[in-house]
Amino acid sequence: MLQYDFMVNAFAATFIVAVVAGSIGYFMVLRGQTFAGHAMSHVGFAGATGAVLIGLSPLTGLTFFTLLAGLGIGLMGERAQSRDIAIGIVLSLSLGLGLLFLHFYTSFAGQATALLFGNVLGVARDTLWIMLVMGALALVILAVIARPLTFASLQPELAEAKGISPKILGTIFMMLVALAVAESVQVVGVLLVFSLMVAPPATAMLLARRISTGIALAVLFALAQAWIGLVLAYYTNWPTTFWITLLGAVAYLAANGVVHLTQNMR
């Protein structure tokens, strides 16, 4: 299996994505901002297709647009009541725009599926480097803001009184989500970023009491999902993304079962 370059690249790419998506996804779930992440990937779709149309790489357009969306959502602030509706409208508009761009670029059908559902086996070596740099950057920033971010997520009013600005912090964090989304799309596509950014953290949260353990577990689950998914895809020839989503769902259900059992035994 590892005699093929594309498999090696795929294992490396999923490793980077799992670490980034697992840890940033953990905070996203903790803050209840999963919808924002979901929407961002759709905005990224318009960016990616648009970029190809003007001759840029899809990853460039994708990242640029997710970052822009992250900035927008962050600046809207947590309290804006109509926020989810605004996000939802931008989300559908973006998919629509993406469709239009595809319409103008007819030989793009294969790329479209790759963008929507991911194509980790097609990740090139140079893309891998970009992903590594983006991922490392996101993780370094996350490490610096992790503590205040946790505090502001759990007790926003108190954090604000202590001099932390939830809005600035929230905006920085949304940009990190944007980077994580752009990376995840490389593996599981625009439509399924939840499978790496939400399922593993949510599973981890069921099992771990402490935040540090939770993040570690989230990364571990994301990585296990991705790597086992790759191996299964290699032997079955079915899409990797399918296996990743299936494993994510199975892990979440199993964790729920474990929690129920241990609670009943007490």
Binding site: Q155, E157, A161, R209, R210, I211
Partner: protein, 257 residues
């Protein structure tokens, strides 16, 4: 010494004024009940004291200094923290997180910070509770942890925003007594926001009543009167005392009284 001073303070959100030209002074070491109907601006007043909302006119001084955000002299328990209801994190970890999370950079707690956490948990008698996940605690137990959290860093003033909500009368009583004891032991100034006056009776040194953009501060007997309250509610109000309890009710004083 004056702990908190409002001088001609106006508080507003856009055109929505919650306090117009409010002036009062709270002395150091006083336990004050902050009362007022829903939406009167109690939380807003706390936010102003914390420096999170700038008065559109007038000045607020805390221990003689102008208010500022992140003032270490003020401990704060915000109104309901829904996020904590299902939290699997233990109370102790929550406290550690809030100590290390109050600034950027070095993410680990120091020995001094952990000692401070032990101290506040002991003061509030929450040492055992703090080992359990927050989500498994009852409302009153959770409140105890949050009060402990507000004592971190030894503030001289405590602002408590409706800590009695959804507690039964016995629990209310024990939370008020806890705060009163701490306040006396540590010689703190406390502003205790509550919807009801009854649980605070006999414990507080005065009431700060908010209503109709106005504010009145004084002893219970002077503020909780039909005349003052009718003014603050902008409608006829009556005060009914029964078996050691005080009720503020709508409608003018009954002729029989």
């Amino acid at each position: 010494m004056i702990a908190l001073e409002f001088d001609g303070v106006c508080l507003r959100y856009g055109s929505n004024v919650t306090l117009a030209d409010g002036s009062f002074r709270v002395g150091q070491g006083k336990f004050i009940g902050l009362l007022g109907p829903n939406g009167a601006g109690k939380t807003t007043l706390f936010r102003a004291v914390l420096g999170l909302l700038r008065p559109s006119s007038g000045s607020i001084r805390v221990f003689g200094q102008p208010t500022r955000r992140g003032n270490a002299h003020i401990g704060y328990v915000p109104q309901f923290g829904k996020q904590l209801n299902q939290l699997s994190l233990s109370g102790r970890d929550l406290l550690i997180g809030s100590v290390t999370g109050s600034r950027y950079g070095w993410p680990f707690s120091t020995a001094a910070q952990r000692e401070d956490i032990d101290r506040v948990l002991e003061v509030t008698g929450a040492g055992d509770l703090a080992r359990r996940p927050m989500g498994t605690l009852s409302g009153g137990e959770r409140q105890r942890i949050l009060i402990a959290q507000a004592l971190l860093g030894s503030p001289k003033m405590l602002l408590l925003d409706e800590p009695l909500v959804s507690l039964d009368p016995n629990r209310q009583e024990s939370v008020v007594s806890l705060v009163r004891d701490i306040q006396q032991d540590l010689d703190m100034t406390v502003l205790f926001c509550s919807h009801e006056l009854t649980p605070l009776l006999g414990k507080i040194d005065g009431v700060l009543f908010l209503g109709q953009r106005k504010v009145a501060l004084g002893p219970v007997e002077e503020v909780i009167t039909p005349k003052v309250l009718s003014d603050l509610y902008g409608a006829p109000m009556d005060v009914v005392r029964s078996a050691g309890r005080v009720f503020v009710v709508a409608g003018g004083p009954s002729p029989a009284a």
